[in-house]
C-alpha cells in the first residue's frame, strides 16, 4: 500500500451555534465542509475573518461540538455531537496552538512548557532535556523563570508553541499563532516553525488570514468561502523544501499563487 488513507478526513461538516432564548436561530457558520489532510502534510487554510476558521479547529481539537457531518482520524470516526462524548486533544494525539497564548499566569515560562508533560505523567530527565532544547531553539533561554506577564508577546507565542511541541503530538492545529506580532518576529517564527516541521515532519493544519503566510508555510492551501464556510479553492504550493521564508516572495511561483488565492478570498 503506497498511498495510505488520509490521516484526517472531514466530511460535510456543519456548525451553527445554539439559539439564545427569544432569538432567531443563528445562521450556519460552516456548511458542508469537506477536505482531508495527509500524514506529514503542512496544510494551510485561508479565509476571510468570521469564516469559522477558529470554530473549525475547535471542532477538530474536540473542544467544541459539530452540528452535523463526520470527522475521521486515522480512519476512526470521532464523536462530534455530544459535548460529554468529546475527547479534547484525542488522547494527546492532536495538539492545538490557539490564537491567544493561554499560558497559565501563575506558572513560570518553564513550568508552562512542562505543564503537558506534568499532567500526562511524562516528566522524566529525557523529556526535560527535550524541553530545554526546544527553549533554546526558539531563543527563550534565560527566561525560564519569568512569569508570562514578564515576557513580550512574541516570547509568549513561542512558549505556547513549544508547550505543544514538547509532548510531540503527531498532529498540530494552529490558529493564526503569529497573528498579533510585528513583521520581523513573525518571519523569524515562521522560519523556526518551518525548520521544526522539516526536522520532525509532523502533520500541521495552520489557519491564517494572511495569504503570503499560507503560501510560505504550506504544502497545500485551502481557501474557505465567507460563511457558511465551505472549501472555495485548493492550491498545491509547488515550492520545494526547505524554504527561505524571508525570500519566499521572490520565488517565481509565488506571484501566480498569490493572485489565484486572492481572487478566491472574499
Amino acid at each position: 500500500m503506497a498511498t495510505a488513507e488520509p490521516l484526517l478526513e472531514i466530511r460535510a461538516l456543519c456548525k451553527r451555534f445554539p439559539a439564545r432564548a427569544g432569538r432567531e436561530h443563528p445562521p450556519w457558520v460552516i456548511r458542508d465542509l469537506t477536505f482531508s489532510v495527509a500524514e506529514r502534510e503542512f496544510l494551510t487554510i485561508v479565509g476571510p475573518s468570521g469564516a469559522g476558521k477558529s470554530t473549525l479547529l475547535n471542532m477538530l481539537a474536540q473542544i467544541e461540538t459539530a452540528s452535523g457531518g463526520e470527522v475521521r482520524f486515522q480512519s476512526q470516526p470521532i464523536a462530534l455531537d455530544d459535548p460529554k462524548a468529546l475527547s479534547p486533544g484525542l488522547a494527546c494525539r492532536i495538539g492545538y496552538v490557539t490564537q491567544e497564548d493561554n499560558l497559565l499566569p501563575w506558572r513560570t515560562m518553564l513550568q508552562n512548557v512542562l505543564f503537558p508533560l506534568a499532567v500526562q505523567g511524562r516528566l522524566t530527565p529525557e523529556t526535560r532535556a527535550r524541553a530545554e532544547t526546544l527553549i533554546r531553539t526558539v531563543g527563550l533561554a534565560g527566561f525560564e523563570h519569568h512569569y508570562p506577564h514578564e515576557l513580550s508577546g512574541g516570547m509568549r507565542k513561542r512558549a505556547a508553541l513549544i508547550r505543544t511541541l514538547v509532548y510531540d503530538p503527531p498532529v498540530i492545529l494552529m490558529d493564526e499563532p503569529f497573528g498579533a506580532l510585528d513583521a520581523q518576529t513573525r518571519t523569524q517564527l515562521q522560519q523556526d516553525l518551518h525548520q521544526l516541521w522539516i526536522g520532525g515532519r509532523k502533520t500541521i493544519v495552520f489557519v491564517t488570514h494572511d495569504i503570503a503566510e499560507a503560501i510560505a508555510l504550506g504544502d497545500r492551501t485551502l481557501v474557505l468561502s465567507p460563511p457558511p464556510a465551505h472549501v472555495a479553492g485548493e492550491h498545491v504550493i509547488d515550492i520545494p523544501h526547505p524554504r527561505d521564508i524571508r525570500a519566499i516572495m521572490t520565488h517565481p511561483a509565488f506571484a501566480g499563487l498569490y493572485e489565484r488565492i486572492r481572487a478566491q478570498v472574499h
Binding site: 481539537a61 474536540q62 473542544i63 479534547p88 486533544g89 488522547a91 494527546c92 492532536i94 495538539g95 492545538y96 490557539t98 491567544e100 493561554n102 497559565l104 499566569p105 501563575w106 506558572r107 505543564f115 503537558p116 499532567v119 500526562q120 519569568h146 512569569y147 506577564h149 514578564e150 515576557l151 508547550r163 505543544t164 509532548y167
Partner: protein, 272 residues
C-alpha cells in the same frame, strides 16, 4: 556591572525612598494623635464611659503578667481557628462539588442564595438550644459566618475561570482532577484571599460575640464580665487585646497572600 531584565526591575525610582519614610512617620504621628484624643476624651467623659488609655495600658500589662490575658486570648483564638477551619473547608469543598453537578447546582442555587440573608447571630439561641453551652454553639456560629463568605467567593470564582485555559489543559491531556487542582484552584486564589480577608476577622469577632453569650472564658467573656462589674478599663483592655489579635491574624494573612500570589502583576505595582 550587570543589567537587570527590565521586566524584573522592581527597584523603586529615586525619590520614593523619602516618601516611604514620610508615610511611616505620618502613620506614627496619626496613632499618637488618636491616643491623645482618647486621653482628652477620657478626662472629659469620666472613667465610667471612657477608660484612661494609660490605665488601660497598665491593665493590659498586669493581665499579661498574670497570664490571664494570654489564657483568654488563646481560648478565643482556638475557637476562631477551629470554626474557621470547618467553615473554610466546607466553603471551598462545596463549590468544587457543585461544579461537577450543574443540574443540582441550578436547582439549589436560589435556596443557597436565600440562606445567605439569614442573620447568623440571630441563630445563636437556637444553637444553644440544640448544641448545649459548650464550644459547639460558638463553633456553629463561627463556622457558618466563615462558610458563607468563602462559599460565595469560591462559587463566583469557579464561574469566572477562563474557559480557554480549561480547554487548553484538556487538550494537553489534563484529567478533571488535575484541572481542578491546577487551573481552577490557582485562578481562584485572588477570590479566595479576598474572602479570607473578610472571613478571618469575622471569625474572631464571631468567637468573641459567642463568648459574650455562652461560657466563662475567652476575650468575649473577659469583656462582658468587666462590663457587668462596671469595670470600663477592663472592657477597653479586652477591646484592645481583641483588636490586636485581629491585626496579627491579618498581618499573617497578608504575608501569606504575597507569597502565594507573587505571580500577580497587579500586586507588585500596588505595594507601598
Amino acid at each position: 556591572m550587570t543589567l537587570q531584565q527590565p521586566a524584573l526591575d522592581r527597584a523603586a525610582p529615586t525619590g520614593i525612598g523619602w516618601q516611604r519614610h514620610a508615610i511611616v512617620l505620618g502613620r506614627i504621628g496619626f496613632a499618637a494623635l488618636l491616643v491623645l484624643a482618647w486621653k482628652i476624651g477620657a478626662d472629659a467623659a469620666g472613667p465610667l464611659y471612657l477608660a484612661d488609655p494609660i490605665k488601660v495600658g497598665q491593665r493590659i500589662a498586669a493581665d499579661l503578667a498574670s497570664g490571664a490575658l494570654i489564657r483568654h486570648a488563646y481560648v478565643t483564638l482556638r475557637l476562631a481557628a477551629i470554626g474557621f477551619a470547618i467553615g473554610c473547608t466546607a466553603g471551598v469543598a462545596l463549590p468544587f462539588l457543585l461544579r461537577r453537578l450543574p443540574r443540582l447546582t441550578a436547582a439549589i442555587e436560589p435556596y443557597i442564595m436565600a440562606s445567605v440573608g439569614i442573620p447568623k447571630y440571630a441563630l445563636v439561641p437556637l444553637f444553644i438550644l440544640w448544641f448545649g453551652i459548650d464550644d459547639a454553639p460558638k463553633l456553629w456560629l463561627v463556622g457558618l459566618l466563615v462558610f458563607y463568605v468563602v462559599f460565595i467567593a469560591v462559587f463566583a470564582g469557579i464561574r469566572s475561570v477562563d474557559r480557554r485555559l480549561i480547554d487548553m489543559a484538556r487538550v494537553v491531556g489534563a484529567s478533571e482532577a488535575a484541572i481542578s487542582r491546577e487551573v481552577i484552584w490557582n485562578s481562584l486564589m485572588p477570590f479566595f484571599f479576598a474572602a479570607l480577608k473578610i472571613a478571618l476577622p469575622r471569625a474572631v469577632s464571631a468567637a468573641i460575640i459567642g463568648e459574650f453569650l455562652v461560657g466563662n472564658e475567652g476575650l468575649g467573656y473577659m469583656i462582658e464580665s468587666a462590663r457587668q462589674n462596671f469595670d470600663t478599663t477592663g472592657v477597653f483592655a479586652g477591646i484592645v487585646a481583641a483588636t490586636t489579635l485581629v491585626l496579627v491574624v491579618n498581618a499573617m494573612l497578608t504575608a501569606l497572600d504575597r507569597r502565594i500570589n507573587a505571580w500577580r502583576p497587579a500586586d507588585r505595582d500596588t505595594q507601598v
